[in-house]
């Protein structure tokens, strides 16, 4: 295995990690206010759909991106109202969003473009790539880190932004307070509902961005099942990282790497495609199991 292959794999891994990372940050923010967001898959689908559709409609990818964020934020608003005002069960509402996403996007794809299953608009440009000035020239590192699409770098930035928000701003403190001790937050005069709404909506925007990265970040293509459970893998990364931005990002990268590895397995060997494709999901289940085994082991400290 040459250095070039390794750097190739790492480069691709970073690219593939991006939608996971953005979605995971969305999940992280929701988790911090104690509102488990099961709807990430559906929100990503809405984002992916809107980016392609609106991009094609207006002939401008950036506009598509913006409207993708807007759409997923609006859907999140619906989700937030149902859960926060009507106190509906979080999981149920999240599943509803996912189901709505699959139904509505398939429906609209047929109605608007007479396309079933997949749609790739003519002439729509994908998001631009950026060559990082200094880093570009560094031998191996440059190949891995430079030349990614815009949203890849945005996602890295967002990790820092989320961490800063969480630990250094009053809003972040309020979020953590709401998530850990609701009553204390209320008695401290924190507007709990407002904090929850804002957290969810921020997450919604990020999830939309994640979906857009999938549909217009590399190629410009929307397929019916393009999210394929990534929303839940992102959620698993949040569990892995205990809702801490840095650790969660690492989790996303690990899962992203497995996605690339399985793809390489497909092309490099004669193993039928589906078997490697199963790999990322199985790895996530194993990781989640492993985390809990660890937790349990730590609790059962041998009493002296």
């Amino acid at each position: 295995m040459s250095v070039e292959t390794v750097s190739n794999v790492l480069f691709a891994s970073l690219r593939v990690t991006t939608p996971l990372l953005l979605a995971a940050l969305a999940g992280l923010i929701s988790q911090r206010v104690n509102l488990l967001n099961i709807a990430l898959d559906g929100l990503m689908l809405f984002g992916a759909f809107a980016a392609v559709v609106f991009g094609a409609l207006f002939g401008n990818t950036w506009l598509g991106l913006l409207l993708a964020m807007l759409l997923s934020t609006l859907i999140t608003l619906l989700f937030a109202v149902v859960v926060i005002e009507f106190k509906a069960n979080l999981i149920v509402a999240g599943l509803a969003v996912n189901i709505l996403a699959t139904g509505l996007t398939s429906y609209l794809l047929v109605v608007l473009f007479d396309a079933r299953g997949a749609y790739s608009p003519e002439g729509l440009e994908s998001l631009p790539r950026i060559a990082l000035p200094v880093i570009d020239s560094i031998p191996v590192l440059g190949d891995i880190l430079s030349g990614h699409g815009v949203l890849v770098y945005v996602s890295w930035l967002m990790v820092l932004v989320v961490a800063f928000m969480l630990y250094r701003t009053p809003f972040g403190i309020h979020m953590r307070s709401v998530g850990e001790h609701l009553e204390a937050s209320e008695t401290a005069g924190i507007p709990v509902k407002r904090v929850q709404y804002i957290a969810l909506l921020l997450g919604g925007a990020l999830a939309g961005l994640a979906g857009a990265q999938l549909s217009v970040g590399n190629l410009t293509l929307f397929t019916d099942n393009m999210i394929n459970g990534r929303g839940f893998i992102a959620l698993a990364a949040v569990f892995f990282g205990a809702a801490r931005p840095g650790l969660t990002a690492i989790g996303c990268f690990i899962f992203g790497m497995f996605e690339i590895l399985q793809f390489r397995l497909q092309t490099a060997t004669s193993i039928p495609a589906q078997l490697p494709q199963m790999l990322p999901y199985l790895i996530v289940v194993l990781v989640l199991t492993g985390i809990n085994v660890q937790k349990r082991r730590r609790k059962v400290v041998k009493v002296e």
């Binding site: 099961i38 149920v92 699959t102 139904g103 109605v111 394929n228 839940f232 893998i233 199991t289």
Partner: protein, 368 residues
């Protein structure tokens, strides 16, 4: 907190599911049925809105839908046909939800169970009907049950979130059966991935030709009645209801909550496997990739709508069968993609979720 507030606090109970106590008055059943119909009506209105906004004729579409699902003897048979797998999957979801377990793995069990049934059907070609069909169902049920049992154990013993694991494992099951049907078991010479046909003996008899309605419908109803019995009259039923209501209390009473969770997940998977077997042995006579169009998710929608009552699940599955069987014709005649049904389902879930909490919400307002 004390201060004589025990009454107020005591009522501060989240009523997330219908309390299926041992003696349910007829009145409550009727009221619940009314609520279900109301929710369906709202969903239909939403669907009409979506159709009109996208330039389709909603009235014509609904006419086509209901005519082809209720308008003739064959139509009715087709409706029952469409409701068959839904009965299984909604029961699977209901028993899980009632025990407080979010078992979303029926889709995976469906595929694996379906494949297992097909395998029995085209492998044991010498066996007579009375042996091969029960065998196929048994194998399908065991395989499906096991598939959900594993995440069940992870949840019961290690507290690994079963929602995430069952969803992820669904993808694994779908991919695995896709591999099987495209690889070792592929029928050579066909464009679409499918296995060879099962033996004639393994096919479930048709009940109302020319419709594909078959004996799996009867099996589904039987399964439903058994589930009603289990939930209301057995020890396991008591245990799973208690676990769903208050797992801490259940533990303090001496009931092993992990065992209950494992059993419930297994049964859910078993029902999913039976659903798959029913489709393979009764409709397709072989395993075809992608034969389930979100059957498990629809099952979940139904379970939520009827608040996990197994009896209600049977009835609501019939209603959903109407929607599903009519949607294909609706698509042909009114040019409305059948994905509209999925949109209807999502609306139903939203409203069911909100409605349940409205009564809770109303009571909360009095607390201040």
């Amino acid at each position: 907190m004390t201060d004589g507030l025990n009454n107020a606090e005591g009522r501060d109970v989240e009523i997330r599911r219908k309390r299926f106590t041992l003696s349910d008055p007829l009145k409550t059943t009727l009221v619940n049925f009314g609520k279900v119909l109301l929710t369906l009506l709202v969903a239909l209105l939403m669907g009409a809105l979506v159709m009109e906004l996208s330039g389709k004729d909603s009235l014509g579409a609904y006419q086509a839908l209901f005519r082809s699902s209720l308008g003739s003897r064959t139509a009715l048979a087709n409706t029952l046909l469409a409701s068959t797998p839904l009965i299984f999957t909604s029961l699977a979801a209901a028993i899980g939800f009632r025990a407080g377990v979010f078992n979303v793995g029926a889709e995976g069990s469906l595929y694996l169970g379906g494949f297992a049934a097909a395998w029995v059907g085209f492998t044991f070609t010498e066996l007579p009907t009375l042996l091969v069909i029960p065998l196929a169902f048994m194998v399908a049920g065991l395989v499906g049950g096991f598939w959900c049992y594993v995440p069940g154990v992870l949840r019961a013993r290690l507290a690994v979130d079963e929602l995430v694991t069952t969803i992820l494992l669904n993808y694994v099951a779908i991919l695995f059966t896709e591999y099987l049907v495209n690889g070792p078991f592929l029928l050579p010479g066909v464009a679409n991935a499918m296995t060879e046909e099962i033996s004639l003996a393994a096919r479930l008899p048709r009940l109302a030709p020319p419709s594909q309605l078959n004996a799996s419908f009867i099996i589904a109803i039987l399964a439903g009645l058994i589930m009603v019995f289990i939930m209301t009259r057995t020890r396991l039923g008591y245990e799973l209801r208690a676990t769903g209501d208050n797992p801490v209390f259940t533990r303090w009473a001496g009931i092993s909550v992990p065992v209950v969770i494992e059993k419930v997940m297994f049964i859910g998977g078993l029902l999913g496997g039976l659903a798959g077997a029913g489709q393979v042995l009764g409709v397709h006579y072989r395993f075809v990739a992608g034969f389930s169009s979100g059957l498990a998710f629809s099952g979940m929608t139904i379970a939520l709508l009827v608040r996990n009552s197994p009896f209600g699940a049977i009835l609501a599955s019939l209603l959903f069968g109407v929607l599903r069987s009519g949607s294909a014709t609706m698509e042909i005649f009114s040019d409305v993609p059948r994905d509209l049904i999925t949109v209807l389902e999502a609306t139903i879930i939203f409203f069911a979720a909100m409605e349940i909490s409205i009564s809770f919400f109303r009571r909360r307002r009095h607390e201040r």
